[in-house]
Each structure stands twice: as structure tokens, then as C-alpha cells.
């Protein structure tokens, strides 16, 4: 008995000794550099170790048979290899691969300026938009300091690379925005209807953008709204032009925000002298409802509702005789609802859906009257599949119903009505193919059909990007872009085709931790532009634009707690369109544009100050007293703006005091000239300069956040502010 036990034990011990395997080797990366501190172990066992300073490891195991050797290391892909444990020594020298992620992977960069807090390629954050002097917290105002844009002071919209304002389209959560700007008033710049604080990310593409977006000849402004609110707060804003209040409530998985503003420019106009005569300065109110619901750990439903009413009256130069003015009055009601749903279905598939509805009513009274009603409803679905780390495919479709009716009554009492209905559908597919983590190709195509035009189009898009080093990368892009002609042109008949643009881009950028540099050259051709003669239209217009953009941003890299960027754009463009008698540079295109934006954070007085200087070379205008067309040139445009934000507490409520002034030196800017339609007695046409409504614009505001979460014990943000 005793013997058998001893034998049993001896046998057992021998088995252990005999079956012990030593595993050793050196872990390196793909370039052969040793990896220090990697975790090397046998799966589902305790056996393992960390690699030494030379990447080597050695450990013993009593496991036998088949096992899996696993290696993990931060920033590298998990490594697994099947091994046979038969006792003795096993040598394995694994090479592990760096994880391809946003930080080290090539991204499509041609044409795109991303402003986001989620992505790597941050050019401007939402907060940057608000603190840019001269932008008056307007998204388009801040984007106008980026290269590729042309300063067109009397419009307030984005003009990109020789394109007219309508060629830039705005998208919110992937859906078209029918009226992104306030109603157009002659020679008064429009403002965006949406606050920059609504968005967590802004992508401003100046060309060559994704097949997901259509109906924009020049540029896409892609805005992505915030997710769930982060805190329950109440806010009050007091401004020189009005006041506002908001309340946000945060529950466990949902949030609701309600806000409203009342704007009345009359008190401001009575203090600051205006060059235009206002019969009724702008007065209006608006309200927003923002609802978020996290439907699961990965799903989110978003609802944004925006309604506004505004009216104004001012004197505008007469059409027949510019020296006489007529009363111009405008009333506008706007409603916009945007809802979207996003869910990650499984590890490969992501679903995005969206529904939107827009309503806009505009009434204009001058000697003539125009009543316009426009409605649209849109549905969109997008599916993304990450087939693997190096292949991603995105496809989807959208449908848009647009109803437009306009009644125009001329000063002589003639009535013209336009009634348009468009059923528009589009489908798109796009694949991102990574040949390595340094080289990516994006191939996409988009097809559209409009039943109003009764025409199809197919638009191919291609982008390539190649990473030349840790910071530098080259990109190339080509794409075709189609856009349905503007409504004003369709009232003479819908027998028109899409206007078309081809973009060719080449881009080089260096993205450092604190410095960014990019240069981009482009060439664009325009075809099928609408020409208008008397009351007929056709698609015989065309044009081109070419130039280059340079951008440099330095965020604390050279000057402490200072952030500045410099933009320069060169543009050479001509087009033959609309009522042009020949190809010419349009009045909105200036050859040289430059901006310098400088911001300094002053921790001692918890304030941020900023300056923006903008320059635009002379713009063309047409003087009917000369033979040529569009050969007049305005003086160059200059602006120097300043702003200051002071952060403080009023009775423990977080408060921002904000002040800004545009055109400090008082440059006498002229945007163009307006001429009488009929010659005067000596046979010449009288002209007057188009100027800003006032030489300078002042703004003072105070924004108070009454949130128990702000003041009592916990903060909003942590760490140094810059």
C-alpha cells in the first residue's frame, strides 16, 4: 500500500517535471525594434511574464498539449499564436503590429476642414468659432477666416472658390437644410439660423467631398449636433440686441433643452448711428426644442426643432433711380424639424436614419410684392459596414419632397405665380480601401433623379491619401457635382438640366501637435450653368476656377497661451452664366483673400482676447457707362475686429461677459456699385456705392449659467484652459 502511494506520487511528480515547457523569445514590432513591457502569456492560464528592456521573455509552464500564446501591448494589436507544449524549450520570436487608429492612420484630407472634438484632424473646435473676433458667433463668419472662402461683406454667406452662395449647402446630421440663413435683405449680411453651440462637430469641405452629399456645386458645410446634454442647467443671456433664456434637463438616459430669444435691434440703432435709414429695425423671436434619448448603449435618437419669426423695414435704393429710396419691408416665419437615429447594429454594421421637415414663409413689400412659401420633407438612410480594419463601405439613399410657390405682383399690378413640386431621390455608395495604414483610396458614386427636371445624373468621386511620415500627408481628389438650378431660374420653365462642376484637388498637410500647415491647389470646371435672356433660360453657361489655399495654425507652439492662424487664398475665375453677355469674373470673386486670427488667453484676469484682420483684393462691378462688362474694381476690403470674453462667477453662477467690435480703424469699405436702370438726362447711369449699414458693429453680451452642478461643488472643465 505504502509503496503504491509512493509510486503514485513519484510518477505524478515526474510527469510534472517531464511535462514542463519553457517558452522564450523576443517580442519586436514590424521594424524589428524590441517591445518593452509587453504582456506575454498562455491564454486561460496564470502562466506568463512581461518582456524585459531588450524585448526578451522567458517563462515556464506545466500545461501540455495545444495552447495559445497571447501578447498584449498598449497601442498594438493583440497577438495570438497556437503552440504545442511537449516539454523542453520552445522559442518564439513574435512580431506584433501597431494598431491602426485615428492617431496614426491616414485620413482623407483633400478639401476638408474638420472642426470636431471627436476626430484627429481638428482645425477649428466649436469653441474656436465663438471666440473668433469678427465672426460675431456666427458659423459662416468664423469659417470665412479659413482659406478657400471669399469675403463678400454684404451677403454674410459662404462663397467658396469662385462659387456663388447657393453653391454651398448646409447639412445637419446628414440632412439638407432648406434655409440655413436668415432671409435675404438687399445689402444687409445674413446670419446663420443655428448657434455654434448646437454642434459637436463641423466639417467644412471646400471641394471633393463624399458621395453621401449632393446638390452642392462648390462646398458642403456638414454639421453634427451634440449628443446627450452633460448637465442640468439654466441659462440667461442679456445682449445689446436682445435677451434669451434656456433650460436643459438631464435624466439618466435622456435630455431635454428648451430655449428662446427675443431680438430687437431698435435700441441699438438709436445709440449707434446707421448709414441706412431703418423704418423698422429687425425685431423677432425664436425658440428651440432639443431632445435626446439614448435608446441603448450604442443607440441615440435626436430631435431638434427650431422656429422663428422676424420682421424689418428699411429704405433701399430704387431700381429705376438709385438716388431715390423705396420702403422695403420683410416678414419671415421659419420652422425646421430634424430628427435622426443612430445605432451600431453589430460589430460591423452601423445604421443612421433621418427625417426632416422645413417650412419657410417670406413676405416682401416694396413697390412690388413677393410672397414665397417653401416646404420640404426629407428621409434618409445610411448603412456603414466595417468589413475589416482596412475596408469600410458606406451606402444609402434619400428622398426629398420640395413644394415651392411664389406670387409676385409688380409695381404695375401684373401677377406672376410660380408653383413647383419636386420629388427628388438619390442613392450613394462609397468604399474606403486601406492598402496599408499609410495609403487609402476612397471610391464613391452618387446618382440622383429629379422628377421636376425629369433628369438623372451620376457623379463619381475619388480621393486618395498617402501618409509620408508621422505628420505629413499628400492627398488627391476628383469629383463631379450636380445641383438643381435655383428656384428663381425655374420660374421661366423647368426644362433645364442640372448645373455641373468638376473638381480636381491636390493637397499636402503637416499635422503637428501644436502646429498645422496645409496647402491645397485646385482646378474646377463648370458646365450646364443656367443662362438667362429676357424670360427664357437654358443650360449653355460654363466657367472655371483655379487657385490655391494656404493655411497655418499655431496653437501655443510658438507663443505661450496664444492661438493664431493665417489663411491665404488665390483665386482666378471666370464664368459665363445668368445674364452675362460674355465670360467674366463675377462680382463676388476677389483674387486674393487673407485672414489673420489671433487669440490670447490671459489666466490672471480669466479672459480671452482676440483680433482678426481680413483682407480681400478689389472685386469686380459692372459700370453701364463703360463698354466692357464687369470691368470696374472696388477698393480693396480691410477689416480689423476685436473681442474679449471675461469668465467669472456672479453669485457663484458661471458667467461670461463678452464684448466685440468690428472694423476698429473705420475702414471705408465698398462692396460694389449699384446703378440706376434708366439713364439720367445727360445719358449716363447714376451709381451709388454699396456700403455696410454702419461703419462699425458693437456687441456686448452677458451669459449666465444657473446650474446647481456648475457652482456648488463640481466643475465643468478641468485643467488648464489652454
Amino acid at each position: 500500500m505504502k509503496k503504491s502511494v509512493l509510486l503514485f506520487i513519484a510518477f505524478f511528480t515526474a510527469t510534472i517535471l517531464w511535462s514542463q515547457t519553457t517558452i522564450k523569445g523576443i517580442v519586436t514590432d514590424k521594424s524589428g525594434e524590441p517591445i518593452i513591457g509587453a504582456n506575454v502569456f498562455l491564454k486561460d492560464t496564470y502562466d506568463g511574464t512581461s518582456t524585459e528592456a531588450d524585448g526578451s521573455f522567458e517563462f515556464a509552464t506545466t500545461e501540455t498539449g495545444e495552447a495559445i500564446l497571447a501578447i498584449t501591448y498598449i497601442g498594438f494589436e493583440d497577438f495570438e499564436q497556437a503552440v504545442q507544449l511537449n516539454g523542453g524549450e520552445l522559442e518564439i520570436n513574435p512580431q506584433i503590429e501597431e494598431t491602426a487608429n485615428e492617431l496614426n492612420m491616414v485620413t482623407i484630407s483633400a478639401g476638408a476642414f474638420e472642426a470636431s472634438d471627436e476626430k484627429k484632424a481638428v482645425m477649428l473646435s466649436p469653441l474656436d468659432i465663438v471666440t473668433t473676433a469678427g465672426a460675431t458667433a456666427d458659423i459662416a463668419g468664423a469659417l470665412n477666416t479659413l482659406p478657400g472662402t471669399q469675403a463678400v461683406g454684404e451677403e454674410g454667406q459662404l462663397f467658396v472658390r469662385g462659387g456663388a452662395a447657393y453653391e454651398t449647402r448646409t447639412f445637419i446630421d446628414g440632412l439638407f437644410v432648406q434655409n440655413p440663413y436668415s432671409s435675404r435683405v438687399p445689402d444687409i449680411p445674413a446670419r446663420g439660423r443655428f448657434s455654434p453651440f448646437l454642434f459637436k462637430g463641423t466639417m467644412f469641405s471646400t471641394g471633393g467631398y463624399s458621395a453621401e452629399y449632393g446638390q452642392a456645386l462648390s462646398s458642403a458645410l456638414i454639421l453634427n449636433t451634440n449628443d446627450l446634454a452633460t448637465a442640468t442647467t439654466t441659462g440667461i443671456s442679456l445682449m445689446t440686441v436682445g435677451l434669451g433664456a434656456s433650460h436643459t434637463h438631464l435624466w439618466d438616459k435622456s435630455s431635454l433643452a428648451l430655449s428662446g430669444n427675443y431680438i430687437n435691434v431698435a435700441p441699438y440703432n438709436s445709440i449707434v448711428p446707421q448709414d441706412r435709414k431703418w423704418d423698422k429695425p429687425f425685431r423677432g423671436y425664436d425658440g428651440q426644442i432639443i431632445y435626446r434619448k439614448e435608446t441603448s448603449e450604442t443607440g441615440i435618437f435626436k430631435l431638434n426643432i427650431n422656429g422663428s419669426h422676424g420682421s424689418l423695414g428699411l429704405q433701399t435704393p430704387g431700381f429705376e433711380d438709385v438716388t431715390k429710396t423705396n420702403a422695403f419691408a420683410l416678414g419671415n416665419d421659419n420652422f425646421y424639424l430634424n430628427s435622426s437615429f443612430k445605432e451600431i447594429l453589430d460589430e460591423h454594421w452601423t445604421l443612421r436614419t433621418g427625417l426632416s421637415y422645413s417650412y419657410d414663409k417670406e413676405e416682401i413689400r416694396e413697390l412690388f410684392s413677393v410672397n414665397t412659401n417653401e416646404q420640404s420633407a426629407q428621409a434618409k438612410i445610411t448603412l456603414t459596414n466595417n468589413v475589416g480594419q482596412f475596408f469600410k463601405i458606406k451606402f444609402g439613399g434619400e428622398y426629398l419632397l420640395n413644394l415651392y410657390d411664389q406670387k409676385f405682383i409688380s409695381s404695375a399690378g401684373e401677377e406672376f405665380t410660380t408653383d413647383l413640386t419636386d420629388n427628388y431621390g438619390a442613392g450613394f455608395a462609397e468604399a474606403d480601401i486601406y492598402l496599408s495604414k499609410d495609403f487609402v483610396a476612397r471610391l464613391g458614386t452618387r446618382t440622383e433623379y429629379s422628377d421636376m427636371l425629369e433628369k438623372w445624373n451620376i457623379a463619381p468621386r475619388i480621393s486618395l491619401a498617402y501618409k509620408t511620415g508621422k505628420k505629413g500627408q499628400f492627398s488627391l481628389a476628383y469629383g463631379q457635382f450636380f445641383q438643381t438650378p435655383e428656384k428663381e431660374l425655374l420660374r421661366f420653365g423647368t426644362n433645364l438640366n442640372y448645373e455641373k462642376a468638376d473638381h480636381y484637388l491636390i493637397n499636402y498637410q503637416i499635422l503637428g501637435k501644436k502646429r498645422t500647415f496645409r496647402i491645397e491647389g485646385y482646378y474646377k470646371t463648370y458646365d450646364n450653368l443656367v443662362k438667362q435672356e429676357n424670360f427664357t433660360t437654358n443650360n449653355s453657361g460654363n466657367g472655371h476656377a483655379r487657385g490655391f489655399d494656404i493655411f497655418y495654425r499655431d496653437k501655443g507652439g510658438t507663443l505661450k497661451k496664444a492661438d493664431f492662424w493665417i489663411s491665404y487664398s488665390f483665386l482666378d475665375t471666370e464664368r459665363d452664366w445668368r445674364e452675362f453677355p460674355q465670360a467674366a469674373t463675377p462680382t463676388f470673386a476677389s483674387r486674393h483673400n487673407a485672414s489673420i486670427v489671433y487669440k490670447q488667453w490671459l489666466p490672471k484676469i480669466t479672459s480671452s482676447i482676440g483680433f482678426t484682420y481680413s483682407y480681400a483684393s478689389p472685386r469686380p462691378y459692372n459700370d453701364p457707362n463703360t463698354d466692357g462688362f464687369n470691368e470696374g474694381r472696388t477698393p480693396a476690403y480691410h477689416d480689423l475686429s476685436f473681442n474679449i470674453s471675461y469668465l467669472t462667477n456672479i453669485k457663484r453662477h458661471f458667467t461670461v461677459l463678452y464684448a466685440s467690435v468690428n472694423n476698429i480703424p473705420g475702414f471705408k469699405n465698398k462692396f460694389g456699385y449699384r446703378y440706376s436702370n434708366t439713364p439720367n438726362d445727360d445719358g449716363t447711369y447714376t451709381g451709388i456705392a454699396v456700403k455696410p449699414a454702419a461703419k462699425r458693429f458693437f456687441f456686448v453680451g452677458c451669459f449666465i449659467s444657473i446650474g446647481q452642478r456648475f457652482s456648488k461643488d463640481n466643475g465643468v472643465t478641468s485643467g488648464d484652459l489652454n
Partner: protein, 216 residues
């Protein structure tokens, strides 16, 4: 003879089962001793590797996952202190993975919830100006819950106090607002005793440091 063999076999089986638990306790004690004395990035990485290996063998124990997350957070603290803000992200991603497993194994545990609050606080470091607005309140809310779950958990007060300490005063942060939390944490740390040799006791070192700074 037969009886003896059956007895021996059942004894062997039992001892294997016990041995497994002993193995766990022994491995954990070693790893916890390592994390208790860890100061540098390499220390935390090595300790983190040990916890990862234990979690790999014992998939139903929450402590290895919890400690693994802690080692990742401390590694992120180290790279942040060396100025590489972006490098904090992969560590915090890994910490989040582990704490998600811990949460599933043991829901509503004050220590685990505190670690979640610390991870959210860490998310701010990547870009304080932008991430602060999102993760500041998120971290704070989670830490409130941790205190509610166990009002005697010193780490919940310490991490919360730390968040307030580094928040600018005009956002309701600063040393004065942090002090009550740090003092409460100190009081609880002094009473804290580790009976099983494994439960978390970290945090008093930095809590004392912050309290000293706050009293300057």
C-alpha cells in the same frame, strides 16, 4: 486498496480545486503588493500585466479587472504628467474595457463606480478645453453615485476632490471647493484597514499631497 485510491483521487480533485483558489490568492497578493508600491509608468505597466494574466485565468473575479483598470489609469496619469496628452487615450480605452467587465460581474459596487469616475476624469486630459465640458460633469455625477453606494469609501471622495481641485475656480472648482472632499477622504483613509490583503487601499498618498497643496 480500492478505498484508498478513491480517497486519494477525491483528495487530489479537492486539492486541485483548492489549489486553484490558492493560486488565485497567491497571484493576487503578489500583484497587489506590486501595485501598492508602484510609482513609475513601468511599475504600473508590469503590475497591469500581472492583473491582466490573472483576469485571463479567472474570468469570474472582478478584482483583477478592477486593478487592471486602475493600472491603466495610473499609466495615463504618468504619460499626461509627461505632457503627452493624446497618449492617455489608449490607456483609458483599455481601462474602460476592463471596468466594463468588472461592472458586469459586480454591479453597483462603490469601488468600481469610483474607477469609472476616475476614467471619465482622465478623458478630460486629452484636451481639457473641449473634453472638460463633457467629461467633467459626467465624472462628477458618477462619483456622486459612488459616494451614495458607500459613504465610507475614501477613494470616491478623493477622486471627486481631485477633479474639483484641477477645475478652474470660475467653473466652481479650485482648492477651496476641493478641500471638504479631500478632508473627508483623509479621515476615512485613516480608519481604513485591509483585512483580506486584496481589497483596494490606494489613493491616500495623492490625497495627502493635494490636501497639502490646498492648504498652502
Amino acid at each position: 486498496m480500492k478505498k484508498t485510491i478513491i480517497f486519494l483521487l477525491s483528495f487530489a480533485i479537492c486539492s486541485i480545486a483548492f489549489a486553484q483558489n490558492d493560486k488565485y490568492i497567491a497571484a493576487m497578493k503578489k500583484a497587489v503588493a506590486q501595485v501598492d508600491t508602484a510609482r513609475t509608468l513601468d511599475d504600473f505597466k508590469a503590475a497591469g500585466n500581472m492583473f491582466e494574466r490573472i483576469a485571463n485565468a479567472e474570468k469570474n473575479q472582478w478584482l483583477p479587472y478592477y486593478y487592471h483598470a486602475y493600472c491603466q489609469v495610473m499609466s495615463a496619469v504618468d504619460v499626461m504628467n509627461h505632457g503627452d496628452l493624446k497618449a492617455t487615450v489608449p490607456y483609458l480605452d483599455k481601462a474602460q474595457e476592463s471596468i466594463d467587465v468588472a461592472k458586469k460581474l459586480l454591479p453597483d459596487n462603490s469601488e468600481i463606480v469610483t474607477m469609472q469616475g476616475y476614467i471619465y476624469q482622465g478623458r478630460i486630459w486629452e484636451n481639457p478645453m473641449i473634453k472638460g465640458a463633457k467629461y467633467g460633469p459626467k465624472s462628477s455625477g458618477v462619483l456622486d453615485k459612488a459616494i451614495e453606494l458607500d459613504p465610507n469609501n475614501p477613494r470616491a471622495y478623493y477622486v471627486k476632490g481631485q477633479g474639483i481641485f484641477y477645475t478652474p475656480a470660475f467653473f466652481g472648482g479650485g482648492a477651496d471647493n476641493a478641500k471638504p472632499f479631500l478632508e473627508k477622504a483623509k479621515e476615512l483613509y485613516e480608519k481604513e484597514e485591509r483585512t483580506d490583503g486584496l481589497s483596494p487601499t490606494w489613493g491616500s498618498f495623492y490625497n495627502n499631497y493635494l490636501l497639502k497643496e490646498a492648504n498652502k
